[in-house]
């Protein structure tokens, strides 16, 4: 048994690791990509709605506001949650978890794990916005009368969702236990990292 990993799987000869190597680093990288892309995703128009030749570009936020103005409050809440709140919560939440893992911040094992899985679960729901756009662009296409097109932010937004999902995927959840262990030891051997626990 190797501390760092390198067991052979008896059936498939695949490498087995105690902890996936560089998992935290990769998770960070994917998360950073998402954090960068969230800017164009929100600043560029995500939809181009044209009625009678009158083009109206909408960013995610302005689209939500339009919905509020039109009085469609429940839909606005859903769109806001799926398109703005969730990606941001995801990025912030993951940052916090990764950070806490790296810095051995004290946090209940259970709470951290639950939080991580919640974020992982909620992440896919952000794709709903793109799904709506793709349906709308088909339904609203009435030639010269009206058209509904996906804006340049769509790609960025999709990548944000994708990157956060990948980020949470590559993150080796076992590190969460290590963090807990470490934080307990940390009380006694402050400043020292211990990664050699099974």
């Amino acid at each position: 048994m190797n501390r760092v990993g390198s067991f052979q799987c008896l059936s498939c000869n695949g490498k087995l690791h105690l902890r996936t190597p560089n998992s935290l680093q990769a998770a960070w990288a994917w998360l950073a990509t998402a954090a960068v892309l969230i800017f164009p995703a929100n600043l560029y128009p995500i939809t181009l709605f044209t009625v009678f030749g009158n083009e109206k570009p909408d960013t995610i936020l302005s689209g939500t506001l339009t919905l509020v103005k039109m009085g469609m409050f429940p839909i606005a809440v859903i769109v806001f949650t799926a398109s703005i709140a969730v990606p941001i919560i995801k990025i912030v939440g993951l940052t916090y978890i990764y950070f806490s893992v790296q810095r051995h911040v004290k946090l209940s094992d259970k709470a951290r794990t639950r939080m991580f899985h919640f974020i992982e679960w909620i992440g896919r729901w952000s794709m709903m916005d793109l799904f709506v756009i793709s349906i709308m662009s088909v339904l609203m296409d009435l030639g010269h009368i009206s058209s509904f097109e996906a804006g340049p932010a769509t790609a960025a937004f999709g990548l944000v969702v994708f990157c956060t999902m990948v980020s949470s995927k590559v993150f080796d959840t076992r590190l969460l236990w290590d963090a807990e262990q470490a934080s307990e030891e940390h009380l006694y051997h402050s400043g020292q990292r211990n990664k050699s626990k099974l």
């Binding site: 680093q25 994917w30 990509t33 954090a35 960068v36 892309l37 030749g53 009158n54 990157c163």
Partner: protein, 890 residues
């Protein structure tokens, strides 16, 4: 035991995944930079009124392409206008100079059309116009216009100039029309250099540039021009667009050369002015009724009109100006005469325009140098015999609807016309100058007779009108006829020269008196005193072939004697056998085809007439004045003496007048019917047209009562439904016979003598009726003619008539079966079998026949038994007829 050497792995090497955020960062940065780079050039456009401009929405377009977008609106400090902040596309940078023009495009609906319609839905936008090449100083602040600026004319357009004394609702943008087609546009209207007139510059669209010729004439089609005068009101407008917005129209002669670019043309006030471009000065005697607007004619052609009238200095004459059409320019020579033609109030003339136009001025061309000053005379110039045409004079005391231009007619052909009419005060008569066309000169001799054909002369007499109505056109214009007798002959005489004078006869009759007619006359004796008037027509099938000449009482006062003239060309219509009667003019005939009312000519309805018919027999009349009897009516003339006495036992609607038909054609009618003393039957007196009498009056002839019969098989004798029952004749042979019994039951009809018939013996009649078909392979080859109970009453005998051409199909071996109704057989193995000969036989009954190959032809009357059901083996009989028995195609 040696421990294995620990493998030391570097713990935290940088993961390759970090490339991802780097790439994302680079991309985001680039996007940000691009966003900044493309953010556009901010400019400000000043608009006094920014109505319809919305920030972030209103676009700036150049030739329909979006080149910028309004980003913000801000009010000027003093509130005098609005700054519209526009973000122009980066590429427009070199063009942002002070040569740019911005204006607001809004939907504009005017009478001239609707523009900017797209902005109704898309909202207003700002249009920018830039020169092809960037010119001028760079600018970021512009003045916006509220309406489109005048456009520069692109070089491909050809421009011309028009000069006019006033702009008269011509403004830039107004259309230039060629034959009502928009071919150009007025580009600019400005005062000319000396400020005395207006110069209009217009551009033609490139494809129409050749339309303007050197001799083109332009006129203003703006607005509505109303001209009121004795002539009535003349309202002139062009298209509604040009009426409201103004417009310029032009016309170009075909032959003229294409005008050079930038040519100058005068702009006339109206089409009329453009057309009448020649101005002449006229001196007019003050006594005459000449006004501004008095028309000038060259013959019948309107050549122009007087446009100005002023007193001369000594107040003795009027000095006027007239505008004349271009076409009469060659006439304006020194020798040309102008004279005043006064309006002739003449009821005979229905030419309203002549009456309305009043006094006119006429031109008579002369020789000499060109001039434009003329003296107008009060009288036409003396007649000079010019040209190759023949000039003649006619003298008459009554003018009677004759006018200048009245045609001279010879047998319907116009051969000349009246040139002028003068009243000779001394002789108190009219002298009519007529011109006969050169090609008809040979018709005129010194023996020629002219008469007035005008219908205006109202003789209150039906006949009179009829005699003097020549042709519809001549009713309107009047005419002078050159007399010829009804054979078209003319008296021969010597040819005449110009200036020969004739006297004009009052009418045709007057001319006839000079030139007696050798007409063909007949005499009619009438027992009645209701005779036609003199002049009433003699009609042959409503066509007039003569007329009543004289009506006189017979010497013994027992009636009237009528002399009738038959026009020579119709003489052969009369024979010794002709029958004459007084024509009532209205004839009513009712039949299944509808009601037909035929009337004779209106004249014959009004004045009556004499009609006649001529049978084919008889001899032609050799000498005139043959006497005939005139019957009171056609019926009496055609009086029918019944030849037959028929006894009718059955009740029937058969009445007097019922027709007697032979195969659908009427050959006679029932004249009278009376009851026998015992009231059991009626005796009909029947008349048959003499030509058929010999054939009909035979002992074997049958008269059959035809009555309408509606049954499932259809309607029989539908004609009888409307006209009532009638009699049908089956012509037979035998000795002469005139007394018959009417056959009222179709069963009693004997087969025709030469018909082929057979007798079928059956147990019962079934659903067979008279007329039920005899079918061979479902083709009808005959029908049931009659049936009756056998004398022993144990069977029924059915007489079937077989069409002669199918006779050879009936042999002594033939089998007959009753094909009536529908036979349904159901069996376990064969299923359902429905058999019927035809739809007709299902309800109407019928008989079918099958014939084997062998067998002999039978004689008429052969007896067969009629089977109820056919045997299946009969189906396979397919006799092949030998040639000599083959079906005739008749």
């Amino acid at each position: 035991m040696e421990h294995p050497k620990p493998v030391i792995q570097k713990e935290s090497k940088l993961s390759g995944v970090w490339l991802l955020p780097v790439i994302a960062l680079v991309l985001a940065t680039w996007l940000l930079y691009k966003g900044y780079r493309d953010s556009g050039i901010p400019i400000k456009v000043f608009f006094p009124d920014a109505h319809g401009i919305i920030a972030n929405k209103t676009k700036v377009k150049f030739r329909g392409m979006e080149v910028g977008r309004v980003s913000k609106l801000s009010l000027l400090n003093d509130g005098s206008g609005v700054y519209v902040h526009v973000e122009m596309a980066k590429e427009t940078a070199p063009y942002l100079t002070d040569a740019l023009k911005f204006w607001l495009v809004k939907p504009r609906a005017g009478v001239g059309g609707i523009s900017g319609l797209e902005t109704l839905v898309s909202g207003a936008y700002i249009q920018v116009d830039a020169p092809f090449q960037p010119t001028g100083k760079e600018a970021r602040l512009f003045d916006g216009l509220l309406s489109p600026p005048a456009t520069e004319i692109p070089e491909v357009f050809v421009t011309h100039r028009l000069v006019s004394d006033a702009a008269k609702s011509i403004s830039p943008g107004v259309g230039v029309y060629y034959r009502k087609l928009l071919v150009g546009e007025v580009h600019d209207v400005r005062l000319d250099e000396d400020l005395q007139g207006v110069e209009i510059i217009f551009a033609l669209e490139p494809q129409y540039k050749d339309l303007v010729k050197e001799d083109s004439r332009f006129w203003n089609v703006s607005g509505v021009r109303a001209n009121m005068g004795m002539d009535g009101i003349l309202v002139e407008t062009d298209s509604v667009t040009s009426m409201v917005l103004g417009g310029i129209a032009f016309n170009s002669p075909k032959s003229s050369a294409v005008a050079n670019e930038n040519s100058v043309f005068p702009l006339y006030e109206s089409l009329e002015m453009a057309r009448t471009a020649i101005e002449v000065d006229l001196t007019i005697p003050a006594t005459e009724q000449v006004r501004v607007g008095t028309k000038i004619f060259f013959h019948e052609y309107e050549a122009g009109k007087i446009t100005q009238l002023n007193w001369s200095k000594n107040f003795k004459t009027l000095v006027g100006k007239a505008r004349l059409n271009q076409q009469v320019e060659p006439l304006l020579r020194k020798g040309t005469k102008f004279w005043i033609q006064k309006a002739a109030v003449d009821l005979s003339s229905i030419d309203l325009s002549k009456l309305i136009q009043g006094t006119t001025i006429q031109i008579k061309p002369g020789q000499g140098e060109y001039t434009n000053r003329f003296q107008v005379a009060t009288m036409p110039p003396e007649i000079q015999f010019e040209g190759p045409d023949l000039d003649l004079f006619l003298i008459t005391k009554e003018r009677q609807g004759l006018n200048v231009g009245t045609p001279i007619v010879y047998r319907g052909q116009t051969i000349g016309k009246v040139e002028s009419i003068r009243f000779e005060t001394k002789a108190r008569q009219f002298k009519i100058h007529v011109v006969v066309e050169e090609s008809y000169q040979e018709l005129i001799s010194d023996a020629s007779i002219f008469y007035n054909m005008s219908s205006v002369k109202l003789k209150v007499d039906f006949d009179g009108i009829a005699a003097s109505i020549p042709q519809p056109k001549q009713i309107l214009t009047g005419a002078i006829g050159l007399y010829s007798n009804s054979n078209g002959e003319q008296k021969t005489g010597k040819p005449v020269k110009d200036g020969h004078t004739y006297s004009l006869f009052e009418d045709y009759d007057a001319a006839t008196s000079v030139y007696p007619e050798t007409s063909f006359q007949i005499h009619l004796n009438s027992a009645s005193f209701a005779s036609p008037t003199v002049g009433a027509p003699l009609l042959y099938h409503q066509f007039q072939v003569g007329k009543v000449k004289k009506v006189s009482l017979k010497k013994d006062a027992s009636g009237t004697e009528i002399q009738v003239i038959v026009f020579p060309e119709y003489q052969q219509l009369l024979k010794t056998s002709s029958t004459f009667w007084l024509a009532s003019g209205v004839d009513v005939e009712a039949s299944l085809k509808g009601l037909k009312i035929s009337t004779g000519s209106i004249k014959s309805v009004l004045v009556g007439g004499i009609a006649f018919e001529t049978p084919s027999h008889g001899k032609f009349l050799k000498k005139p004045k043959t006497s005939f009897t005139l019957f009171e009516s056609k019926d009496k003339a055609m009086a029918k003496v019944p030849q037959f006495q028929l006894t009718l036992k059955r009740n029937s609607s058969l009445s007097n007048g019922a027709s007697v038909q032979y195969r659908g054609q009427k050959i006679g009618e029932v004249i009278d019917s009376t009851w026998t003393p015992d009231f059991q039957s009626r005796i009909l007196s029947v008349w048959v047209e003499p030509s058929y009498l010999k054939k009909v009056a035979r002992s074997n002839t049958q008269f059959i009562l035809m009555r309408p019969e509606i049954s499932l098989r259809g309607v029989q004798n539908p004609g009888a439904l409307i006209t009532g029952d009638f009699l049908s004749v089956e012509v037979g042979k035998g000795a002469e016979k005139f007394f018959f019994d009417v056959i009222d039951d179709p069963r009693d009809i004997r087969p025709e003598a030469n018909a082929f018939w057979i007798t079928l013996v059956a147990d019962d009649l079934g659903s067979l009726k008279v007329g039920s078909p005899l079918l061979y392979r479902k083709i009808r080859i005959g029908e049931v003619k009659s049936y009756y109970l056998a004398p022993t009453a144990n069977h029924v005998e059915i007489i079937v008539n077989v069409e002669l051409r199918y006779r050879s199909l009936v042999k002594d071996t033939s089998k007959f079966w009753n094909a009536s109704g529908l036979r349904v057989e159901a069996s376990l193995f064969n299923g359902l079998k429905i058999d019927s000969e035809s739809v007709e036989t299902i309800v109407g009954g019928g008989i079918a026949i099958a014939t084997p190959e062998e067998g002999n032809v039978v004689q008429a009357g052969h007896e067969y038994s009629l089977y109820k059901i056919k045997s299946d083996s009969w189906d396979n009989w397919r006799p092949h007829l030998k040639e000599k028995h083959a079906l005739s195609t008749e």
